[in-house]
Subunit: 362 residues, 2 copies
């Protein structure tokens, strides 16, 4: 990594692989001799469709998405999916189960109450979302249209280590902050979605992976563009899609492939997270915020004994090209988001800085 | 323009100014010494907020947007606004007036029927949307929540030459295909919106300009992220906005400023369109599709006497670096979209090619 690039521990938008950015820069004025930027191409022209189709095919292959499921590219990020999910899916029985394990699942659950009856299958609010419920703690409804959870809680730094068993009730999962960091058996899910700005591409899109049999049951009040059936039938092109974001996702997928795909990322992410958790477990100054069994490999939340020392840490880290390390206001303290594009060297540099900071300030 | 860039007459996404693309390329890996790409920046960090705030301020200044109105950046393009407009605004009286003058106003009108009573104030479908109704032809409702129209019809090549008078009923206008090509008195409008991919930025966003007094009346079923009140209160950042698209809009605005702003564009666009309409009016081979009084300066629709000759024209034009000239399937024939970023030389080259084509094929 050239001297002038920083290590950016932002929770999202977040780092993109440098080779991806370099290729985007080289393509920007004239994409591969087409005489156009990707940003200028008609979404219905053959130059753009080649990019679009290859990106979809790469994602399908890399995530091993079965033919039963369709990939959709939708605008509005994860937040608009908080609405789209119940608008499309809750109508079957009028009811849905939500596991509330953080900020975003709380908002998703609240949004669903507009469109049907919501059963909170579990809430981790009692210990400020520092843990993940066990399977046997989930209060499941046999007649739920779906069971909803968020597999990684960006703000609190917790991650589900198992796939909930819900019998015949379809699983719906917000994977915004850990998609493509770990292999997923897509066939177990009715619907997976992810805002792309953490592990996939620049902000401005959600990837939706839907079991096609679930589409077509949207409530009559569903805004046209939020209907999964229409999006499947139009191959995400009922209107102009966010073309550049899809192109960038395509570049990220090529890069990911070269790193060993999701399997390669999975090994790397566990190793990267372990480096930081080892520092935390050895430290007398820093302590991890999430409970040990629930620790996220994507977002490492921690703190010192005081807000002042936390602030000093953020400031001095920045002087060492280690940026965006303040925790979310709901939690306070510190947070290092280490998504796929964060190089191991960035994590090692942070770990070394943490040790040095502790020595100097004890 | 370097040899290798083409003139792209696509109806959208469409050409962006070359200096904008060059600057985006230069910034892509490391934006102005921040050590990050704009695509990697936290939307809540100071580096990104500086871009965001400057873009909003430039748009406000260039479009002379009064303090009564707020600028919103929303995902989903114009199509999601087809839903957002009635969801937010129709509740006041339960009723809205729609002028239907093309494809997109038809879809917008149909979408509104999900949420209230719609009065079609006029439809130009009788002559395949080749004209624009006169003020006195509009059948207005005194109790409409708003009057809706689309100021330029991309597919049919027609443009409203006047602002409808609707008394106390707020005007809502889809300006996707002619925004910033002509000065607009924003104070006359309750709401203006535009998908950005024609005259403003890469695809993936709509700019919404709303009279703040109209916000806050959304139907209870409105998806959270489509609520104008929430978007105003959160300064378009309830969730992560399409950060790169906003940055690109900022670059386009700087370029536009240097060209004399909207006033400069307005002179240029009339001159560019006249070049093509002069060819059409002089021609025995080509004829304009839109009726003369309604001709759009942004989308010039025309045809020869046969589909075969149209196809030959498209093919041979492409060999001359004049691309994407086929008409929309609803109309057929040919279409040259000449938005702000299309240089006058591109239009002149097309005009010369048309004359040459006629000579060779007569």
């Amino acid at each position: 990594m050239p001297q002038e690039r920083i290590y950016n521990f932002s929770s999202g938008p977040s780092m993109l692989p440098q080779p991806v950015l370099e290729e985007a820069a080289a393509d920007m004025v004239n994409y591969r001799g087409t005489g156009m930027s990707v940003t200028e191409m008609s979404h219905r022209g053959k130059d753009y469709l080649a990019i679009f189709d290859e990106t979809k095919a790469d994602l399908k292959r890399i995530m091993k998405i079965p033919d039963t499921h369709e990939i959709l590219f939708m605008q509005g990020g994860a937040t608009l999916q908080f609405s789209a999910v119940p608008l499309n899916l809750i109508g079957r029985t009028g009811k849905a189960d939500y596991a509330v394990t953080g900020n975003f699942s709380t908002i998703a659950m609240e949004e669903a109450t507009k469109y049907g009856d919501v059963n909170v299958a579990y809430s981790t609010e009692d210990r400020n979302h520092t843990y993940i419920p066990a399977q046997e703690q989930l209060k499941l409804s046999a007649d739920a249209s779906y069971f909803y959870y968020c597999s990684n809680n960006t703000i609190y730094g917790t991650e589900w280590k198992y796939v909930p068993e819900t019998g015949a009730v379809p699983l719906v999962c917000d994977m915004s902050s850990n998609i493509m960091s770990v292999p997923v058996d897509v066939s177990k899910y009715g619907l997976i979605y992810a805002g792309v700005q953490k592990n996939m591409a620049p902000a401005g899109m959600a990837v939706v992976i839907i079991d096609k049999t679930l589409a077509g049951a949207e409530l009559p009040i569903t805004p046209k563009l939020l209907g999964y059936r229409l999006m499947i039938d139009s191959d995400s092109m009922n209107n102009t899609p966010p073309c550049f974001t899809i192109y960038m996702l395509g570049l990220v997928l090529k890069w990911l492939d070269a790193q060993g795909g999701v399997e390669g990322m999975s090994k790397l992410k566990a190793a990267k997270a372990q480096i930081l958790y080892d520092v935390l477990d050895d430290s007398k100054m820093f302590r991890a915020i999430a409970e040990k069994e629930a620790r996220s490999d994507m977002n490492v939340t921690f703190r010192t004994a005081s807000d002042e020392l936390d602030a000093k840490f953020v400031k001095e880290a920045k002087q060492n090209c280690l940026e965006t390390l303040a925790g979310h206001r709901n939690v306070g303290g510190l947070r290092a988001s280490i998504y796929n594009a964060m190089p191991a060297e960035g994590v090692e540099k942070l770990a070394a800085f943490m040790r040095e900071f502790e020595t100097k300030n004890t």
